[in-house]
Homo-oligomer: 333 residues x 3
């Protein structure tokens, strides 16, 4: 299943230098793992030492790294080597595993009232309920549930175990018990969205939960009812977003972070891993909030002191006042 | 699928004022989203400004808001507008999607030794193992697994992807390896319990894991072996409860919180999102523990200082002693 | 389904003392729950008071507890009572539920190009894709997906809803959008691995994600692409491990912890629950980092002060300098 270097640049562009077009490439590999039959890439100048030591047949580099790369051997010069590498993986995938054809696996359960585009692919043991829609060229891998009236756009990838359109978590308290609020909205997912394994996106209470075009969600993410996620935002694994939160476009959320409900995150907000977002963030930027790891004994000491932090501040204030009084020749009360 | 205002009050009670019984209602909507064919609700006086501006055909309000509401147009006066709204959504659901009938979907795999009540509904691709029981009017949506000997009460809703009765996580260490402790208990779930998508409830080691009547669990929750969750408690998404913890009745746990094992939470304990419960909580109340979010640069400074917190306390103490000595005319050692 | 005490020691070893071999044992139970027909165990001397009060027919104890136990009644003296208990649960399971036979459930979807060992058991509604391999005596419970080319060793237990081999989360940013990096690696799982319900293990980008022999993973865990988990490590529920992290052998990770990407944890590292690992840990030991729980009002005060922690440190420093100057008879500037 090799490709020739010439075939790669013909397909993806870039300038092949210092090497022959008919060099066969067996696979793509990182700089340190690559062998003499492999294509590698230098995504950042800080890895330049690994470049020099790499045994790769050819390395994708940015124009600024061209001479350094040529001193080693063959290279493909490309504007953005990391994007070039991404497209090379797509070329490999297409070469080795022919693009899946549309169609519904015999074991899937698709309601007659659902609409699946002929070019969409519904994998084994999926469930597509009444009124649900799956757009052109979308691929539901296996064991995916798409609930009633939920809509998935074109060219989406939905990994195994995903649940789209379970009921949002809505109950009214009455005399110590919970009265169910039926969730009458649905889920609307745009085009080019990818959803990781076992992730859940709940249907809205009255209006729809919305995931806009180009959003990428990792595994085991919880998206509550009536959330809206803006275009091209990306969430790492195990994130939870509570009901009615609105996340802007081009945001990123790190793994295990929690976004509380009814908040608004501006476009370009970046949340670090394991951070709890408790208020709206109206300006782009990086936001963080988790307890720094330490060896357990030191953590215990600091954590215990943390519970007195407010009192420590009062003691500092008292010291300042005492000292100020002392400086002024007055005896503090 | 409209309902008339008269039909709504006939079904749910409350006093229709300032409007005609034959007004058709197309849907339920929030105050700001409602159009002239919609029913809305004022759940709290703080939203009264939205009430004045709402275009809703009719608004559900508490008695204290009656006059304000009548100044705008039609209203239904009800003791608890939020509960009334919840029951209205149920009316809508019943009207638009007829109550599901009992029965086992042809694609489900139900062991001949399982007991499914004739009025229970087992959705597509569920697995019900030997000795498992599902009570009257319970509904397992799709792709739910109920393990051997696990019991689900009446009127429960179990969303897609739920796993009830996987083995609890029990191993005995022996010479650097793990010896499996077979999990000989099961899971016992009461009546009127709702369980969110992809949530897991493990079977007990020796006795059963127990979820009492009326408990509501959101998506992607992990309930360890031998946990007991008291009546009418509610957990938001992504919560983890470790083995043998006992949560009281009428508790709430916020999203992403972690409850460690072998702890006891009294009735009426409320845990904030992302909080780690490391000790038993014997009094009702609200408990919290997560690092406050900040912009990343400030967080980094504070987090770095946090690691010296215990030493800062020592420095404050030293300052206090020095100053005390200085005040007393003594030179500190 | 009782066993006689004599049968138990014949199967598992240990010395039966103070009791008759023909005593029937109905079940295994904890010291406080055990009745007169039950076998119990004393795993640690700190529970010795429960031992004295237990109504168990027989108690498994360590040699040092022998006399104390005999004062109460029958006991089995064993080197490690907790391991003995574990093996007793296995005996019980084998007695009451005959070992599952190999075979593929009729409802499972197994690609003709997959290799399933004849002694492996593939439960209902599993999906085994092309090129995947399942080793001898492994048991996939129900609704498990094993993706293309992923390999599972011998004697593994994979609980319901697990997804092995979904795509790792890899995208290259290009002009505000995300270009998919096809994940060309697979997942390689060793022997004697147990994987909890709804856990996800992603396939590698270029090389494989690796889970070594004897690893135990609880429910709802996320393992990113190209992670390597060393032999006999154990992770509690809801843990997330980001891409390319390397966890050593004999590590433990508490529930809800997050391990960031491209880090290395040495053998014998133990991470407390809900801790965020942000740097490599090169020495064995216990590491912790979560905000201590408090009642909400106190937490709010301390959390607010925490945001000024860096400034508090500056104020302490200023106080120290002022006081030092004052001691030296100089007026501080």
């Amino acid at each position: 299943m090799s490709l020739l270097l010439g075939q790669i640049v013909d397909a993806l562009g870039g300038a092949l230098e210092g090497g022959a077009r008919d060099t066969p490439i067996a696979r793509i590999a990182s700089l340190d793992a690559a062998g003499p039959g492999d294509l590698s890439f230098l995504s950042h100048p800080r890895y330049r030492q690994q470049l020099a030591a790499s045994r790769a047949a050819c390395v994708i580099v940015a124009p600024a790294m061209r001479e350094l790369a040529l001193a080693r051997g063959a290279c493909i010069v490309a504007h953005d080597p990391y994007v070039y590498y991404a497209r090379a993986t797509q070329l490999w995938r297409a070469r080795n595993a022919p693009a899946p054809r549309g169609g519904v696996h015999a074991s899937a359960v698709v309601d007659p009232g659902a609409q699946v585009h002929p070019s969409a692919r519904i994998g084994p043991l999926c469930v597509i309920e009444r009124g649900a829609q799956v757009g052109a060229d979308s691929w539901l891998k296996s064991r995916v549930t798409v609930g009633e009236d939920c809509r998935i756009g074109a060219r989406c990838i939905v990994h195994s175990g995903v649940v789209i359109g379970a009921d949002g978590f809505g109950f009214a308290p009455e005399q110590g018990q919970w009265v169910k609020i039926e969730q009458l909205g649905a889920v609307c997912i745009g085009d080019d969205v990818e959803i990781g394994a076992n992730t859940c996106i709940d249907r809205g209470a009255l209006q729809d939960t919305v995931v806009e075009d180009g959003v990428k969600l990792d595994n085991l993410i919880q998206i509550g009812h009536n959330v809206r996620i803006g275009r091209h935002s990306a969430f790492a694994g195990c994130v939870g977003v509570a009901g009615s939160a609105r996340v802007g476009a081009h945001c990123t959320v790190g793994g295990g972070a929690v976004v509380l409900g009814h908040l608004e995150l501006a476009d370009g907000v970046h949340i670090s891993a394991a951070t709890v977002v408790t208020r709206s963030l109206t300006r782009p930027g990086q936001y963080t909030g988790f307890f720094p790891i330490d060896d357990n004994a030191r953590w215990e000491r600091n954590a215990a002191t943390l519970k007195q932090l407010h009192r420590l501040r009062e003691r500092i204030k008292a010291l300042e006042q005492t000292l100020q009084g002392s400086m002024n020749g007055r005896t503090p009360r």
